[in-house]
């Protein structure tokens, strides 16, 4: 489809949104993994 003369702005807006959401989700998943690893370390008695 033809986005006209302002295609860059439209794609930029959508691109930024996708990027921010990806960062948000990626960070949430990374944080969850870190906490789960820490919990697992306690469960396996790594600290004992």
């Amino acid at each position: 489809m033809d986005l006209g003369t302002h295609g860059g702005f439209i794609l930029g807006a959508y691109g930024f949104t996708v990027l921010t959401l990806a960062l948000l989700i990626g960070n949430a998943v990374r944080d969850r993994r870190a906490q789960e690893r820490a919990l697992a370390a306690f469960r396996d008695g790594e600290h004992r």
Partner: protein
């Protein structure tokens, strides 16, 4: 029922069950919304194709405000009922709300350039969102500064409520200020009269955004609960390794010799 649902253990169970459904529903409505927004909705007769930015700009603005509202409710839960889940909900909401507010600001700027010929105009709505973003930044900064979680929750709750009292005042004053300073020729973003062919995609996108936000929020809340568990376990571990301090009891002795 609500007290049962709000019990952290119960919360973990029902939120684990619910999150995939929410995420799936969000993906489906999101896909539908994008299809409608890109292939069904016509280009605006004034704004042309750039109107497609509205379909993310408006939902993002709504979510920025929505998450502040949920933080206010959680803040009341923290201060009045001292409910641990309220602390967790509040803490998990702040970065998500800030991210959506940022999306709203950036897409607004990218929409503004082709429409107004400049990335930023001090339009009342954009300015209010900017202030909201600044308040979010303050809240996140305060979360990071106060180390002890319960104290941080109470401190942030007070700030959130003060911000909530202030936001309507800010909105009002910014409106007043912009009518004072601006020429009236600015295009209004998504005015009250909007064509149904644009309205339905917009509504679908708002629903999709809200589902995404809630799914993210539930997920982040569970992470936060895990983080607190890790913290508790770490403290127990430290107590265990320090036998002198681990089981401290007081002996009420009689009159001393």
């Amino acid at each position: 029922m609500w007290t049962r649902l709000a019990n952290p253990g119960h919360f973990l169970r029902w939120s684990v069950a619910l999150t995939p459904w929410l995420a799936g529903a969000a993906a489906l409505t999101g896909a539908l919304g994008l299809y409608l927004a890109w292939f069904v909705a016509p280009p605006d007769y004034q704004q042309g194709e750039t109107v497609r930015i509205m379909f993310i700009h408006v939902p993002a603005a709504w979510l920025g405000v929505f998450f502040y509202g949920s933080m206010v409710l959680s803040a009341i839960g923290t201060l009045v009922w001292r409910h641990p889940l309220a602390d967790v909900a509040q803490r998990a909401a702040a970065p998500i709300g800030a991210a959506f507010t940022l999306i709203c600001l950036v897409t607004g700027a990218l929409w503004g350039k082709p429409m107004w010929g400049t990335y930023w105009v001090w339009d009342a709505r954009l300015t209010s969102m900017l202030v909201l973003f600044l308040i979010y930044c303050g809240i996140i900064a305060l979360w990071r500064t106060v180390e002890e979680p319960n104290r941080a929750a109470r401190t942030v709750a007070i700030l959130t409520l003060v911000g909530a009292v202030n936001l309507p005042i800010i909105k009002f004053s910014v409106n007043w200020w912009s009518t004072l300073h601006q020429p009236a020729s600015i295009l209004r973003m998504g005015g009250p009269t909007i064509d149904p062919t644009m309205l339905y995609p917009l509504i679908v996108m708002i629903v999709a955004g809200t589902l995404t936000g809630i799914a993210l929020h539930l997920y982040a809340m569970r992470t936060e609960i895990l983080r607190r568990r890790v913290r508790t376990l770490t403290i127990r571990e430290a107590e265990r390794l320090d036998p002198g301090a681990s089981v401290m009891v007081a002996y009420p002795a009689g009159p001393s010799a």
